[in-house]
Symmetry: C2
Subunit: 125 residues, 2 copies
DNA sequence: CATACATATCGATAAAGGCCGTTTTAATAC
DNA sequence: GTATTAAAACGGCCTTTATCGATATGTATG
């Protein structure tokens, strides 16, 4: 493990701590596994777009079909469709097909919690 | 307001609802204001990066200096510095300078809540 | 002052993401 | 079958973000 640490960083740690080897080890132990980070990353990437946030906010009140979301976003059909696809892939929305319409709804209430907490966090800054 | 709605969308709504004008109005009322969306967007953009997620996870246990975070991320100094800058700008971390070291810490416990909820959400999908 | 070192910023390049016209698919009605 | 229409997928173009070497800034120490 220690071999992967650049020499310059090692020297820095040598100066900072009495037992740099131990410190290195505990720093690496802080690292979450790749799967967890990938999962979190997928969620945050899906939320990191204005249109997608607006879609979720609109779905708070209940399901809407894609054509209604076009009205809410005031954007072209293909643009809205691709954002809906991303939200669905991320598990943030679920769909229900009825005839030629596809209805979208919040897939998990945790999605709404994320929106609320982010709002509160930004407001308190 | 209605003038901004494309004719094709209006026709769709005409077919869907008895009172399309009313429906249009209520759809627009669902839209949150720009300030709120911008605030949420800022938070989620800051979280939408693997390195930045790893930094926050590492800071769960307490403050770390930039040089220690270089070890955790195993990335060049300038790369780490720019991610730290973004996290600070977003209000997710705060800093404390001591001599030539800058110590970083979680700026708001809401940041940790976001990480946890995102993890749980992805796990349940 | 000069030197050393941690951190921050700059700038050029590379990679990722978003936009949207067009085309295709799927469902319905005639 | 054909026509219509909502939604999804494709593809080229453009904007944004990430990376990282080089340079600058700030803070000690001698």
């Amino acid at each position: 493990m220690s071999d992967s640490v650049p020499e310059s960083t090692r020297q820095t740690l040598d100066r900072l701590y009495e037992d740099p080897e131990n410190r290195l080890t505990s720093l690496f132990e802080l690292a979450p596994d790749d799967e967890q980070v990938d999962a979190q990353l997928g969620v945050f990437k899906a939320l990191a777009n204005e249109h997608r946030i607006r879609i979720l906010e609109a779905l708070k009140e209940g399901e809407l079909c894609a054509c209604e979301l076009q009205v809410v976003l005031d954007a072209p059909q293909s643009t809205v469709a691709s954002h809906l696809r991303e939200l669905k892939d991320a598990g943030l929305v679920k769909t229900r097909r009825q005839g030629k319409w596809t209805y979208y709804r919040i897939g998990d209430t945790a999605a709404l919690q994320l929106l609320e907490i982010a709002h509160a966090l930004a407001a308190g800054t």
